[in-house]
Symmetry: C2
Subunit: 376 residues, 2 copies
């Protein structure tokens, strides 16, 4: 049998309450008593039962992170930062994988694991505003990404329209005129894709370049295989792109692959830019230009928002501030070889240090701005 607090109390000759005080760092315990208790704890190798503590305290010290796929590098990197941020608050992270399936996402917000978790960070893909409105579970929740923009929940996101506009503008500045886009999505789930498409079109308009539907490729997902297939389609269609803005780095890596197979040079024949700044793009051949969202910040904000919700007792949003929070995280454009930036020496730096050249950074986007910096 496992040793309990009572066992310790018995051995130390004190009451359970005193042991509890010692364990929880309560200050007003006589030094002598404290030592006796601590010795007993060591002797018996006592460790508190967290289930019991949770039951009593009504909190568990665990938060859940729900993402579509753990092995998509963007989510993996995000998860890493979230685990670190949660750690700082004394939280452990429990991971849910939704596969982007609406029903699973509904279950997650419905409280499948409520009372086992203090909070939830969800990166939704298929969830609708209605699903969210139906939610009755009171567990604090933070949504990641643009999916349900003005829904009744705290959000952490980046300005996808502005970022996409910048990426596209970067290609136009190279003098390219037939700029393609890969990653458009018509499904209800494609909110992020639609924002990026809007930014793409805005940049074209600003650059005085006409919008050509044939240069826009839709993809079911944002994976490498989708990017490779879409690039092949674009090339076969006779649309003759001389640059491509891919809505994710994975799409871009797939596109690079197809271009290499077709014997096209990057960036000479076709310039390529992605979105996400995953580690792969720093070592691909050629290295990949991209939009780099501040993932550390996104994770940090999500955890902070959760924390605030717990303090104010609000569910899904911080009422004290008059409604759900929308926090905008920074991003920046990173130009690498795929858009003609010079070859940096191979970095022997630890991962996380970018050896690339930052050509431009977001126009003073406040990370806590309550309104999107993009004009409506």
């Amino acid at each position: 049998m496992r040793t309990t607090l009572r066992d310790v109390a018995r051995l130390a000759g004190v009451s359970p309450k005193t042991v509890s005080n010692v364990v929880n760092g309560y200050l007003h315990v006589r030094a002598e008593t404290r030592v006796r208790v601590e010795e007993a704890i060591v002797t018996l190798n006592y460790r508190p039962n967290l289930s019991a503590r949770n039951l009593r305290r009504g909190r568990t010290g665990v938060i859940a992170l729900a993402v579509p796929e753990l092995d998509v590098p963007y989510f993996a990197e995000l998860a890493r930062h979230l685990v670190a941020a949660a750690d700082a608050h004394g939280w452990t992270v429990l991971v849910d994988q939704t596969d982007g399936v609406r029903e699973r996402e509904r279950q997650v917000i419905g409280g499948i694991r409520d009372q086992l978790i203090d909070g939830l960070v969800l990166s939704p893909l298929a969830l609708t505003a209605a699903d969210l409105a139906e939610r009755t579970d009171a567990t604090p929740m933070v949504l990641l990404g643009e999916r349900i923009h003005h829904g009744p929940a705290d959000h952490v996101l980046i300005d996808n329209v502005a970022a996409a506009r910048e990426a596209t503008a970067h290609l136009l500045e190279l003098g390219r005129t037939r700029v393609a886009a890969i990653g458009a999505q018509r499904s209800a789930a494609g909110v992020t894709a639609r924002m990026r498409l809007r930014g793409y079109r805005a940049a074209l308009a600003a650059g005085g370049v006409g919008y050509d539907e044939r240069l826009v490729a839709s993809t079911p997902h944002f994976h490498r295989a989708d990017g490779a297939a879409a690039m092949a389609e674009l090339l076969d269609s006779g649309a003759r792109p001389d640059a491509v803005f891919c809505f994710s780095d994975l799409l871009a890596l797939g596109a690079l692959r197809t271009l290499a197979e077709r014997g096209l040079r990057v960036p000479d024949d076709v310039a390529v830019i992605g979105f996400d700044d995953i580690e792969d793009g720093r070592f691909s051949v050629p290295t990949l230009s991209t939009i780099s969202p501040d993932k550390r910040r996104i994770a940090g904000c999500a955890v902070d928002l959760l924390h605030r919700q717990l303090l104010t007792g609000a569910a899904g949003h911080a009422d004290a501030d008059g409604g759900p929070q929308e926090v905008y995280a920074d991003y920046r454009l990173i130009a690498r070889e795929s858009t003609g930036a010079s070859v940096p020496p191979v970095p022997s730096l630890p991962a996380g240090f970018s050896a690339s050249v930052s050509v431009s950074s977001a126009p003073s986007v406040s990370s806590v701005s309550p309104v999107p910096p993009t004009a409506p």
Copy 2:
């Protein structure tokens, strides 16, 4: 206040026990009663308190996965499979990130979260056999990888020596004579690296090729940056390799990057093979030959072993079978462009389907063999 089982019982006009029976799917409940209870549950939006249930049952339905880094693709892919396998057993996965730091790994096996988890799957990097021997926590545990080969715990691993031998032999079969190795490690943590080096040397010996120390590059980690730096070193050293066996795919991707920068052709000038079969290698330029461990199987076995330990009540191993289990998972060699395999058409298949050509598979390695297939 949250609704409790008592509230439901009151509304349905039954005892708490009956509600409990319904919730837990106990069979011998009158249909009429069951319906009444279920209605009450819906009306009150009742959801059981897991902390209370856990306290009572002594189990939590949660297992922990501890890996060095969540954003290393191999671990991310493994995590994905583990979440899926755990799901099938009704378990939720809680993720710990150790950063490969020994102290954190010790904490993990020491039971930081015991009584919050039913079991632990650990992929150790720095843990020693002594650390393991000191362990007093009784939580079921399964170790992944080769770190503490004959330690007192269940293991799931692959035959690293044989796999490395095959990878190296594959390079020799191409007619290469100056086959380099990247990823050697002298530190205590480098057990996996040492097994792979052994396989490399064995293949050289079998192929009648002399061992040349100058062709072996050590790296602190198995990351892209390490591979890139090591490849640069090898090229600068005048060792003139015409092939490289990298101990991980990330190392190999880094090496490919350096080779591209130096204007060397792969595989013409230098053939490259990696280890892990991460998704990146299926789309890199060129695509990467590799050793592919059966990750789904590894995850599945780990969960099964945990399950068995829970049933037998053993801690860290299945006593019923006379000691800790060592389960060997399959692997196979996948030849792609980096060792001269023909270019497959770009797959438009969903991720997870390899479009590559399997040139050879492991020599009938049983996945449940209790002894390593490699000769001692």
